[in-house]
């Protein structure tokens, strides 16, 4: 009913096209209670141009993926301990087997909890120090830019990625911490916008602000924050893109 002149404000940039329509094959394992598999699938498809395969936990055939993803959610309702029941489910034996043979594994949030419960990664994830679920944007400083996962980020770069968890308080004793540090196995630390890792930037009480870690060979990455929720234009934040682009480039 109102006639308006040509718009003086610019449109937001259109969704960038998939950068690497290469052939990385990813399998996302879906457990009962998993709920971020679709988010992860959208992010991987956006970056790789290829739909990842969703594998129900009761299936025994994982296919031949280049990357196995353990997504976020509340597998088995987070009952008993987060990730514990999924970690002991039959398909996880297959995942452990593939991981031993070098298949890359990414565990996010509940997936990270599973990697800890399977002992593929060291330490423990305790309840947040606030004792509450926290959903908020956090800043992460990349601590090792020399891995397939982080090659496009570079050491010291800061990305903004949301967390959404109740039990993401990473705990490692002195021995494990020294090992992680000396082997450059810390992937990300919570920090402020300038990259400072003070306690006020630590959302959950994690030891040494640790948000994500690698295994010794840097073929497995477990992290609490959700890079898959920082990829698409409407997320208003594409910090997660570089992480996925790095993996896709490396594995394509």
């Amino acid at each position: 009913m109102f006639t308006l002149p040509e718009a003086p404000l610019k449109r937001l940039p259109c969704e960038r096209r998939s950068c690497y329509s290469k052939n990385m094959k990813a399998s996302i394992i879906v457990f009962p209670g998993t709920n971020r598999e679709k988010d992860m699938a959208m992010a991987l498809e956006r970056v790789s141009g290829r739909k990842p395969q969703l594998v129900w936990h009761k299936e025994t055939d994982l296919g031949a993926p280049d990357l196995i993803v353990l997504p976020g959610g509340f597998s088995y309702g987070d009952y008993l301990r987060c990730g514990a029941m999924a970690a002991h489910s039959p398909i996880m034996r297959e995942v452990i087997d593939r991981a031993a043979k070098g298949t890359r594994v990414l565990g996010v949030c509940n997936g990270f909890q599973m990697l800890i419960e399977t002992r593929l990664l060291p330490g423990a994830l305790l309840r947040n120090k606030t004792l509450k679920f926290i959903c908020r944007q956090t800043n992460l400083r990349c601590e090792n830019g020399e891995t397939e996962f982080t090659r496009k980020l570079g050491k010291g770069s800061v990305i903004r990625v949301p967390v959404a968890h109740g039990e993401g308080n990473y705990f490692a004793n002195g021995e494990i911490l020294r090992e992680l540090e000396s082997e450059q196995r810390i992937a990300f630390r919570y920090c402020d916008e300038r990259g400072e890792t003070g306690s006020s930037a630590n959302p959950n009480g994690s030891t040494a602000n640790i948000a994500g870690i690698f295994n010794k060979r840097k073929t497995i990455l477990g992290m609490m924050p959700h890079p898959e929720n920082a990829v698409l234009t409407h997320h208003d934040n594409d910090s997660g893109l570089k992480l996925f682009e790095g993996i896709v480039e490396a594995l394509a």
Binding site: L4, P5, A7, L9, E15, N35, D39, C135
Partner: protein, 766 residues
């Protein structure tokens, strides 16, 4: 892995209590209602039958006090696919997509056991939505608690929020919006209203209607225990002192099982096995069975031995009245049971054929080799009492002289005297400092940070007003439903307005919802409502109810904003004290291009700040009078529905034309609070002036309706367009880094404003 179901085929020694009019009264049935039951059956009812009548005829299930008035609400529009009467309402949002939504209360259970009460409330409303074939894509919660100083309030806030988070987060459905208010009238009756929006294909919507005779009746989900027996009648009784002893009826929610139930139901809905489906909510197996029988104009016979049971020796009465959660009832195409069974087994859920549909329209129940119930369905449903409860001439609040209040500088407030401030220092800025930090306006981050607002990856606007890079603060939450389209949603009600003048208050709740949806650039399409009131047997409460409904009806009509679903919660009273009348509106709108949607944050320095819709004059029932003077007085602002519609359309056109870069509607707290929220969200201050000829107090804090604040790099074209459309529009000033400054004196740093705004709730909960 729980107790094996009772397999005794010999009837255990169940001795049902003798049925008397006195027992019927205990179950909430009046003597007249009881006598009518005897007439329907031509005999005394059995105990099981009495239980079934009592829940079906309870306020909660029968809407006996509200039904005749609910008919006044407009429910039709070309885009409405399903109005009230099903599990949830359905609207057409284009491209064969449908939005399915409803709001429902879980007030009493949440007061008794806040965590489980709120959790099962959220679980129940999600079930209503996915029963219809929709995947839930967004949750909202409208919460009302007692005054902060009440000893129970903190405990209740903490438990309710954790319960909502515990259930919604586990389900993987983002909680994207809502509201939280505090008022002494809720001290003994908190309100927990939960809303879910789901998304379905228009050609794959499931209803509770459509069953034919000789089809299998199937039970899926969790086993039945003795949870929540008589929950529906409890929700229809007024609390008395000491009624906290009602506790054993609390149900425990199991979000994990519900997540499995959601996935299993949606998987089964991909096949053509389901004829109709109904979730088991209040009054569980009773209301779901009766609903399916009544809508299909058939009968149902259930063999209750076959119902999956968690406990031993359950009676038919208990099975029919249990409110165990996470259960569904469906009627399947004969011969397709195995398809359904395989899917439910895959998801580790119970599945049982528990009966069949019949030509004869009777509800028959057998168990332990005996018949326990034989009720004709039509009178069970149609003869449910309908009351035209008496109302009285409503005593509206007295009007106040706005000019007189406006003439009093805020420094007269007792608040400033107590704090020992110098009178000369007091200004509009001081009032702003009080308002921005008051419980109803203070930032609710402590609450929404406990909700996963991002899961599913489609959230565009989620809660966030602190300017901490956390979400995008906007008047409505925004969820993408395709690569371009997004749904906008918000919940609204000003209960103080409703108490002072129910008709205007009801009008305003709908109008504010319309405004919130419009302010992000979306077209308002339809609403759901949750009508929370006191005891309808009291004429002045009934007058509030009728007034609010008539007000809402007027707004819905004028704004083409029909009601497509809803819920009524009456008897919200403790020891004779009623809550404020609280008709909550959950609005939904559509924006065809989400990238055009507008948030509230100031963007750049030197943008013009424009006030659209007129200057503030009305102080009655304002947050300003409540918080600064401690007075809930006066009449609420009147809503001019023509202007509301016209201004909303204008705002949407501005946003669609990409002429503005921030937009916020003016509501509680008036103009200055609106601007302060925009400043905090954008980390950007402003220089502002009062339009000459206006009194500053009413100008800054009046709550006149149909108004918005927008910012734009170029204001001329907007001013010209407004003039052409005959809509008041003035430039108030410009954005500027650092602080909010008023030309008539006074300034406040944005950082200080943010601290005030964000400290109250965390400090209170500490």
């Amino acid at each position: 892995m729980t107790a094996a179901p009772a397999k005794n085929h010999e009837a255990p020694a169940i001795r049902e209590p003798d049925v008397t009019p006195e027992l019927a009264a205990e179950y909430g049935l009046s003597r007249e209602e009881y006598e009518h039951i005897v007439r329907i059956l031509s005999r005394e009812p059995s105990h099981t039958e009495l239980g079934i009548f009592s829940v079906m005829w309870s306020e909660h299930c029968s809407y006996k006090s509200s039904r005749i008035h609910l008919k006044k609400l407009p429910t039709q529009a070309p885009w409405v696919i399903q109005g009230p009467g099903e599990n949830a309402g359905v609207i057409d949002i284009g491209d064969n997509q449908a939005a399915i939504f409803k709001m429902e209360s879980h007030n009493h259970p949440s007061f008794i056991e806040p965590y489980q009460g709120a959790a099962t409330g959220v679980g129940g409303i999600m079930r209503d939505v996915f029963t219809m074939g929709a995947r839930p894509i967004a949750n909202l919660n409208a919460l009302r608690f007692g005054e902060p100083s009440h000893p129970k309030t903190r405990h209740l806030v903490s438990g309710v929020v954790a319960g909502i988070a515990g259930y919604g987060n586990c389900m993987g459905v983002p909680t994207v919006g809502g509201e939280t208010q505090f008022h002494p009238s809720y001290n003994g009756n908190i309100l927990v209203n939960a809303m879910t929006i789901g998304l379905a294909d228009q050609d794959a919507i499931y209803y509770s209607r459509g069953a034919k005779p000789d089809m299998p009746v199937v039970y899926v989900g969790s086993k039945t225990g003795r949870d929540g027996i008589h929950g529906a009648t409890m929700a229809s009784a007024e609390f008395g002192d000491g009624n906290e002893e009602n506790r054993p009826t609390v149900q425990v929610g199991d979000p994990f099982t519900e997540k499995l139930l959601l996935e299993a139901c949606l998987e089964l809905m991909e096949t053509d096995a389901i004829v109709c489906i109904q979730d088991m909510g209040a009054a569980g197996l009773t209301s779901s069975t009766v609903e399916i029988a009544d809508k299909g104009e058939i009968g149902v016979t259930l063999e209750l031995d076959k119902v999956p049971q968690r406990e031993r020796m359950m009676t038919p009465y208990e099975l029919m009245l249990s409110e165990s959660q996470e259960r569904m009832l469906m009627v399947l195409e004969p011969g397709k049971e195995h398809i359904a069974e395989a899917i439910f087994k895959k998801w580790d859920l119970d599945f049982a054929v528990i009966g069949y549909t019949t030509v004869e329209r009777r509800l028959k129940l057998t168990m332990y080799g005996k018949e326990w119930c034989d009720i004709p369905v039509p009178p069970l449903v149609n003869d449910a009492p309908v009351y035209d409860r008496p109302t009285c001439a409503y005593q509206k609040a007295e009007a106040i002289d706005d000019a007189a209040y406006a003439a009093l500088p805020p420094s007269n407030s007792p608040l400033f005297k107590e704090e020992g401030r110098k009178r000369s220092d007091a200004s509009a800025i001081d009032s702003l400092a009080v308002l921005i930090a008051c419980p109803d306006m203070a930032d609710k981050r402590w609450i929404w940070e406990q909700y996963d607002s991002l899961v599913m990856g489609e959230s565009v606007f989620t809660p966030g007003i602190t300017g901490t890079q956390n979400g995008k603060a906007a008047d409505a939450a925004l969820i993408r439903v395709s690569s371009d389209k997004a749904l906008a949603t918000a919940s609204d009600c000003n209960p103080r307005y409703c108490k002072a003048d129910p008709f205007e208050g009801g009008k305003q709740a709908v109008a504010e919802s319309y405004r919130n949806i419009s302010a992000v650039g979306a077209t308002p399409l339809a609403v759901t409502n949750n009508l929370n009131f006191g005891n309808p047997e009291k004429p002045h409460i009934m007058a509030q109810f009728v007034g609010c409904i008539e007000g809402m009806a007027a707004s819905c009509q004028a704004l083409d904003y029909p009601v497509i679903s809803g819920n009524v919660s009456l008897y919200n009273e403790t020891a004779g004290t009623a809550i404020l009348p609280t008709p909550v509106i959950g609005g939904v709108g559509l924006i065809p291009d989400w990238s055009k949607a507008m948030d509230i944050a100031f963007k750049n320095a030197d943008d013009a700040i424009l006030l659209i819709g007129g200057t503030g004059t009305h102080l009655g029932q304002s947050l300003f009078l409540k918080e600064v003077y401690g007075k809930e007085i006066g009449l609420p602002p009147r809503v001019d529905l023509d202007r509301e519609r016209k201004h909303g359309e204008f705002i949407r056109a501005l946003i669609d034309g990409m002429l503005v870069n921030a937009c916020h509607d003016i509501s509680d707290g008036g103009l200055l609070c609106t601007i302060a929220e925009m400043a905090i969200a954008g980390n950007m201050g402003a220089d502002l002036r009062v339009e000459p000829g206006n009194n500053p107090v009413a100008f800054w804090f009046g709550e006149d309706q149909a108004r918005y604040v927008v910012t734009a790099p170029m204001s001329d074209v907007i001013v010209a367009q407004a003039k052409e459309a005959n809509i008041p529009c003035t430039v108030l000033g410009h954005t500027k880094a650092g602080s909010l400054r008023l030309a008539d004196g006074g300034a406040i740093d944005i950082e200080k404003l943010r601290t005030l705004h964000t400290s109250w709730l965390p400090d209170f909960m500490r």
